[in-house]
C-alpha cells in the first residue's frame, strides 16, 4: 500500500502546482503590500479572500488532476456550450439590469463567465483540431468553422461590453491556430489584412468622436484623459523602483492612491516600484518557467488532443500576463486585463486552477499509463 503511495507521489507531476504556488506567493505578498494602507477604502482585507480563492483553486487543480485526460476530450463541446450559455445569460441579465454587466450572481456566488469562456473555447478548439484533418496545414477554408466557434463568444463578450476579454479570445485563438500549423502564406495574408484594415479604419474610417467612443468602449467609465493619467502614474511607479526597488510595503505611488486599480490591473506597477528591475526579472522568470514547462508538455504527450489543449491553456495565461505587463508599462493602451495570480480576483484564479489541474492530469497520464 505505502509502496504504491510512494510510487504515486514519485510519478505525480507537482511542477505545475508548484509553479502556480510560487507565483501566487509573490502575488499575495504584493497584494498585501498594495492594499495594507487602504483601510479607509475597505481594501486591507483583500489578501485574505485572495488566499481563500487560492486554496479553493489548488483544491480544484488537484481534483482535476485525477481525471483521465480522455474525459476532457469527451466533454469538450459540452464545456464550450455550458460556458457559452453562461455568457449568454449574463448578456440577457445585463439587458434587464441596464448597463454593462460582466457578473453572474447566483445566490452568494458572483462569477464572471467570460473568464470561464476562455477555457471553454480552448477545449472546443482542441477537440475540433484533433478530429478534423489533424495532419493538414490550415488555409482560409479550414478556418471557417473554428472561426465561427470563436467569433460567437467573442462578439457576445465584446457586446457586454468587455472589448479586452473579447480581444483576448481572439488572441488565444490565434496562438492555437498558429500551433495547429496555419500556412505561412495564410499567416502573412491575415497579418497584412489585419494591420492595414485596422490602421485605415482608425485613421480614416472613424471620426474623432468615434475614436473617443472606442476608447470609452474599452472601458466605459474611464475617459480618455483619465486613462492617460493612470498610465503616467503607472510609469512613474515602475520607473521610481529603479534597479532594486523601494522595498516591501514601501510603494509611495500605491499608498498615495495615485493608481486607482492598484489591487487589480496595476499590481505589476506596485511590484516594480517595490522590487525594482531585478524583482521583475525574477517574477518574469517564474512566469517563463511555467510557460516553458507547458510548451515542453505539449511536445511530450502521446495524444494530439492533449497537446493542443496544453498549448491553449498556455496561451490563455501567456496573453493575460503579456497584455497586463505591457499596458502597465505603457506599451499598450489600458484595458482591464488582470495579471494571473497577482491581481485580485476569484474567477481568474479559479480558471488558473482549472488550467493547472488539466495540465497536471495530462502530464500524469504520461507517467501512469506508459
Amino acid at each position: 500500500m505505502s509502496q504504491r503511495f510512494i510510487e504515486f507521489f514519485k510519478r505525480y507531476d507537482f511542477s505545475f502546482i508548484g509553479s502556480m504556488s510560487a507565483i501566487f506567493l509573490v502575488g499575495i505578498l504584493n497584494l498585501y503590500s498594495a492594499t495594507h494602507a487602504q483601510a479607509h477604502d475597505g481594501l486591507d482585507d483583500l489578501y485574505k479572500s485572495q488566499l481563500m480563492w487560492f486554496l479553493i483553486s489548488v483544491t480544484v487543480a488537484v481534483g482535476i488532476s485525477f481525471f483521465n485526460p480522455k474525459t476532457f476530450e469527451r466533454f469538450s463541446y459540452a464545456g464550450y456550450a455550458l460556458t457559452l450559455f453562461l455568457v449568454f445569460l449574463v448578456m440577457l441579465m445585463g439587458k434587464v439590469g441596464m448597463g454593462a454587466q460582466r457578473w453572474l450572481v447566483i445566490g452568494p456566488i458572483r462569477m464572471q463567465p467570460s473568464e470561464f469562456m476562455k477555457m471553454g473555447l480552448v477545449l472546443a478548439m482542441a477537440r475540433f483540431f484533433t478530429k478534423v484533418n489533424p495532419e493538414r496545414e490550415l488555409g482560409f477554408k479550414e478556418l471557417i468553422l473554428p472561426g465561427i466557434i470563436v467569433m460567437v463568444p467573442a462578439i457576445m463578450v465584446i457586446l457586454q461590453p468587455d472589448l479586452g476579454t473579447g480581444m483576448l479570445l481572439l488572441f488565444i485563438f490565434a496562438m492555437m491556430i498558429f500551433y495547429k500549423r496555419l500556412k505561412w502564406k495564410t499567416i502573412a495574408t491575415l497579418g497584412v489584412i489585419g494591420v492595414v484594415s485596422g490602421v485605415l479604419m482608425y485613421n480614416f474610417g472613424l471620426r474623432e468622436y468615434q475614436r473617443k467612443r472606442i476608447h470609452t468602449f474599452i472601458d466605459p467609465y474611464e475617459d480618455a484623459k483619465g486613462s492617460g493619467y493612470n498610465a503616467i502614474q503607472s510609469e512613474i511607479a515602475i520607473g521610481s523602483g529603479r534597479l532594486f526597488g523601494k522595498g516591501f510595503k514601501n510603494s509611495s505611488q500605491a499608498s498615495l492612491n495615485y493608481l486607482p486599480e492598484n489591487h487589480t490591473d496595476f499590481v505589476f506597477a506596485i511590484f516594480n516600484e517595490e522590487h525594482g528591475f531585478f524583482g521583475s526579472v525574477f517574477l518574469i522568470i517564474l512566469y517563463l518557467v511555467f510557460f516553458m514547462r507547458l510548451i515542453w508538455l505539449a511536445s511530450s504527450v502521446q495524444r494530439f488532443y492533449d497537446s493542443v489543449l496544453v498549448i491553449g491553456i498556455m496561451s490563455i495565461f501567456f496573453w493575460h500576463t503579456f497584455i497586463n505587463m505591457s499596458m502597465v508599462s505603457g506599451l499598450l493602451p489600458i484595458v482591464g486585463i488582470p495579471l494571473p495570480l497577482m491581481s485580485y480576483g476569484g474567477s481568474s484564479m479559479l480558471t488558473f486552477g482549472v488550467g493547472v489541474g488539466i495540465a497536471t492530469s495530462i502530464s500524469n497520464s504520461r507517467n501512469f499509463f506508459n
Binding site: K225, E235, I238, G239, R242, Y287, F291, S299, I311
Partner: protein
C-alpha cells in the same frame, strides 16, 4: 494517416517557435522596464519622491440665476478652507501651534480633528477649519514657508441670495452619492464621478445641463512641503499632459420676480403653506414660494448631519414643495368651476334662484351648508359671494359627475400643468369610470354633491387653481406655466428663450357664463357681504374665492365646531385663489395655508400681499386709480353701516 504520436511530432516545430515568441515577448517587456527603471529611473524617482504630479479638477463655475427683473438670485462665491496634509508635516507641534493662533482654535481640537482622521492615508488633506476669513487666508498664505503641510483649499460655494425664499423653486446642488452614481450615469449618459456636484432639486435639477458647464483639469506638482505649482511639461517625459480650461455654465433668467418672492415669503411667515402667482396672459410664474423652507446654500457645502436631521425630523416637512408637489381638496375654490359647468350646461342661469335653508337632503343623507341658518333665496352671484354650499349642490345634482369632470378637466384639473419642474403632482378629478376602476364600486349621486364643493375625491394643487382662475380671468385660455424666461451663454448671447404656450382654449357656449362667475368672484372680495371683504387689501380690486379644505371629514356634530378649538392637525387648510385687477386682469394667484382654518383670514392676505407688490411694481398707474375706486367702495360701506343699526362685526367663516 498519421498516428497520434506522429501528429504531436510534426507540431513540435511550431511549439519551439511559440517558445521563441514568448521569450521575445518577455524580452520586450524587460527592455521596456529597463528603459523606465534604469534609463529614466532617476527622473521618475524624483517625480515619485519629491514632486508629486497630480491632475486636479478645475471646477466649471456654475451658471448664475437671475430674476425677471435682472436681480441676482443664485451666485457663486469663492470660499476657503484651511487644510492640513499630514504627510508634509515636519515639526508637528510648532506647525499646529502657529495654525491654532492664526485660526483661533485651540491645539487640542486641531489634534482631535487629526486623530479622528488618522486612519486615512497621510497624503489626504484634512479640513481643519471651514470657510475661513480673508485675514486668516492672508496669514496662512504669507506664512506659507513656516507652515509645511498647511494650505488653503479654494472652492466655489453656491450661494442663494435670499436663502430660504423660494428654495423649493430654485432647488439645490449637492454631491453625487455612491448610491446615486450608477443611476445618474445611466440616466444622463454622463461620465459622472463620485463627489461631482449636480442639481438635485428645482431649477438646479431641471436646468442642470445648461447650468453645469464642463469641468477642466490642470496638472500640478506638489513639492515635499505640500506646496503646489503648475506643472510645465518641459522635458517631454509624459505624453498627453495638457491642461484644459473649464467651460463656464450658462446663465438663466427666470420669470420670477424677486420682490414678489420676498413679499410672499414674508406673508407666509409663521405659516405652513405655499403661494404661486401667474401672469394670466402668458403663464409665466411670477412667484412661487413654500414654507417652511430650507437654506439651499447648505447643500452645496455638504450638509452637516445636524442640519439634515433638523430637516427630515421637522413635522412640517421643509423639503416638501406646497405648490406643485402637493395636492389637497380645493374646497369652495372649486365652486367657480361647478358654477361654470352648470351655467354652460344650461342647468342654471343668472336668475336661477335656490332657497338655502341651511341644509340639503338627498336620499337619507343631509348635506349641511356652512351657514347653519341658511342663505335664504340665493342666485349664482350671491352663491359665489357667500359661498353657499346648497346652491352648488343643487346645481350639481342636476348634472352628473362626468359632466362636472369634463369642465374641471378642461380647466386643467386632474392633469399636470406641464410646468418644467420635477415631481409635479396631477391632482384628481373623479369620474364614474375612475371609481369603478379604483374601488370597483358604482358612483353614488351623493358623492357628486361633495365633489361640487371641492371635497371628497377632488384634489388640486395651487398651481392648478391659479392656472384655472387665470383662464377664468383671460377668457378661457390655459397656458403651460413656465419659470424660465431665457438662457444665456457666458458671452451674453441668447441660447434659448421660452415663449408662452397655449395648451387649450375653452370655448364658452354661453357668453354670460364667465361674466357672472367673475361678478360673483368680484363680490367675494369687494362686497361687504363677501367672504373675503375684511381681508381685501387696498388698491388691487381683486376678484377671488376663499376655500376651506377639510383635513378629516367632519361628522355632523363637528360641522359647526369652531376650527380654532380643534387639535392643530385636525384644523382645516385655508385657501384663496384670485386674480386682479377685476376689470383688467393681469395676475392670478393661489395660496394654501395648512391648518389655517379660514380661507379669508389665513390665505387671502397672502395672495393680497403678492398681488399688491405686483401692482405697485408693474402697474403703478392702475394701482393708484384703483386706490381711488377702493376708497369709494369703503366710504359707501361706512355710510351704509351708519345708516343701519351697527351689525356685529363677525368674522365670516368661509
Amino acid at each position: 494517416m498519421f498516428g497520434e504520436e506522429e501528429l504531436v511530432k510534426i507540431h513540435k516545430e511550431r511549439a519551439t517557435l511559440i517558445s521563441y515568441i514568448i521569450t521575445a515577448a518577455f524580452g520586450l517587456i524587460l527592455s521596456r522596464l529597463w528603459y523606465l527603471q534604469v534609463y529614466k529611473g532617476e527622473t521618475l524617482h524624483n517625480y515619485s519622491i519629491q514632486n508629486r504630479l497630480r491632475k486636479e479638477v478645475v471646477w466649471a463655475p456654475r451658471g448664475l440665476i437671475y430674476s425677471r427683473d435682472d436681480q441676482l438670485l443664485v451666485d457663486n462665491i469663492p470660499r476657503f478652507d484651511a487644510i492640513l496634509t499630514p504627510q508634509f508635516l515636519m515639526d508637528k507641534e510648532e506647525t499646529l501651534g502657529k495654525l491654532s493662533r492664526i485660526l483661533d482654535i485651540d491645539m487640542d481640537s486641531i489634534k482631535s480633528i487629526l486623530k479622528k482622521n488618522s486612519n486615512q492615508a497621510t497624503y489626504r488633506p484634512i479640513i481643519i477649519k471651514k470657510n475661513i476669513s480673508f485675514e486668516e487666508l492672508a496669514q496662512i498664505e504669507t506664512q506659507n514657508a513656516d507652515l509645511p503641510g498647511v494650505s488653503v483649499d479654494t472652492f466655489i460655494s453656491r450661494e442663494y441670495r435670499d436663502k430660504e425664499v423660494g428654495a423649493h423653486l430654485l432647488g439645490y446642488i449637492s454631491e453625487i452619492s455612491q448610491t446615486q452614481l450608477p443611476k445618474l450615469r445611466e440616466r444622463d449618459k454622463m461620465d459622472y464621478r463620485l463627489g461631482d456636484f449636480i442639481g438635485q432639486f428645482g431649477i438646479e435639477e431641471q436646468l442642470d445641463k445648461y447650468l453645469r458647464g464642463e469641468n477642466g483639469h490642470e496638472f500640478v506638482e506638489v513639492d515635499a512641503r505640500g506646496r503646489r505649482k503648475r506643472y510645465i511639461n518641459t522635458d517631454n517625459l509624459f505624453k498627453g499632459i495638457e491642461d484644459e480650461k473649464p467651460v463656464l455654465g450658462m446663465n438663466v433668467k427666470l420669470t420670477i420676480d424677486r420682490d414678489m418672492q420676498i413679499a410672499a415669503f414674508d406673508a407666509l411667515k409663521d405659516k405652513v403653506g405655499g403661494v404661486i402667482a401667474l401672469d394670466i396672459d402668458s403663464g409665466e410664474v411670477l412667484t412661487m414660494v413654500s414654507r417652511p423652507s430650507f437654506d439651499p446654500s447648505q447643500f452645496s457645502r455638504g450638509l452637516t448631519p445636524e442640519y439634515w436631521r433638523s430637516l427630515i425630523t421637522n413635522k412640517e416637512h421643509p423639503l416638501r414643495d406646497r405648490n406643485i408637489q402637493e395636492h389637497f381638496s380645493p374646497g369652495s375654490t372649486f365652486k367657480a368651476i361647478t358654477g361654470i359647468a352648470a351655467f354652460e350646461e344650461g342647468e342654471i342661469d343668472e336668475n336661477t334662484e335656490v332657497f338655502c335653508n341651511g341644509s340639503f337632503r338627498l336620499g337619507r343623507k343631509v348635506y349641511h351648508c356652512w351657514k347653519r341658518a341658511g342663505h335664504g333665496p340665493t342666485n349664482l352671484v350671491k352663491a359665489i359671494r357667500e359661498s353657499c354650499n346648497v346652491y352648488f349642490q343643487k346645481a350639481a345634482n342636476r348634472m352628473d359627475i362626468d359632466t362636472l369632470a369634463k369642465y374641471a378637466k378642461a380647466f386643467g384639473f386632474g392633469t399636470r400643468t406641464g410646468i418644467s419642474l420635477p415631481r409635479e403632482v396631477a391632482g384628481l378629478i373623479p369620474t364614474k369610470e375612475w371609481k369603478k376602476k379604483r374601488y370597483g364600486q358604482e358612483w353614488q349621486p351623493g358623492e357628486t354633491l361633495s365633489c361640487a364643493i371641492g371635497q371628497s375625491y377632488v384634489l388640486a394643487s395651487t398651481i392648478q387653481l391659479a392656472s384655472a382662475y387665470a383662464a377664468i380671468a383671460n377668457g378661457g385660455k390655459i397656458y403651460r406655466p413656465y419659470v424660465v424666461k431665457d438662457i444665456y451663454d457666458t458671452n451674453g448671447e441668447l441660447v434659448k428663450t421660452f415663449t408662452p404656450e397655449v395648451l387649450s382654449k375653452l370655448n364658452m357656449k354661453n357668453p354670460k357664463t364667465l361674466k357672472f362667475v367673475r361678478e360673483g368672484l368680484y363680490q367675494v372680495v369687494n362686497n361687504p357681504k363677501g367672504t373675503a371683504w375684511y381681508r381685501r387689501g387696498q388698491g388691487i380690486l381683486m376678484a377671488g374665492k376663499t376655500g376651506t379644505s377639510q383635513v378629516r371629514s367632519a361628522s355632523a356634530d363637528k360641522v359647526y365646531a369652531k376650527c380654532e378649538n380643534m387639535d392643530y392637525e385636525y384644523r382645516h387648510h385655508a385657501l384663496f385663489v384670485g386674480f386682479a385687477p377685476y376689470d383688467n386682469p393681469k395676475i392670478a394667484a393661489a395660496a394654501i395655508v395648512e391648518h389655517g382654518c379660514h380661507g379669508s383670514s389665513a390665505a387671502t392676505p397672502v395672495v393680497e400681499a403678492v398681488i399688491s407688490q405686483y401692482m405697485k411694481k408693474y402697474h403703478p398707474d392702475i394701482y393708484l386709480k384703483n386706490l381711488d375706486k377702493d376708497k369709494v367702495l369703503r366710504d359707501n360701506w361706512i355710510r351704509s353701516l351708519k345708516a343701519q343699526a351697527p351689525a356685529p362685526a363677525e368674522e365670516l367663516d368661509e
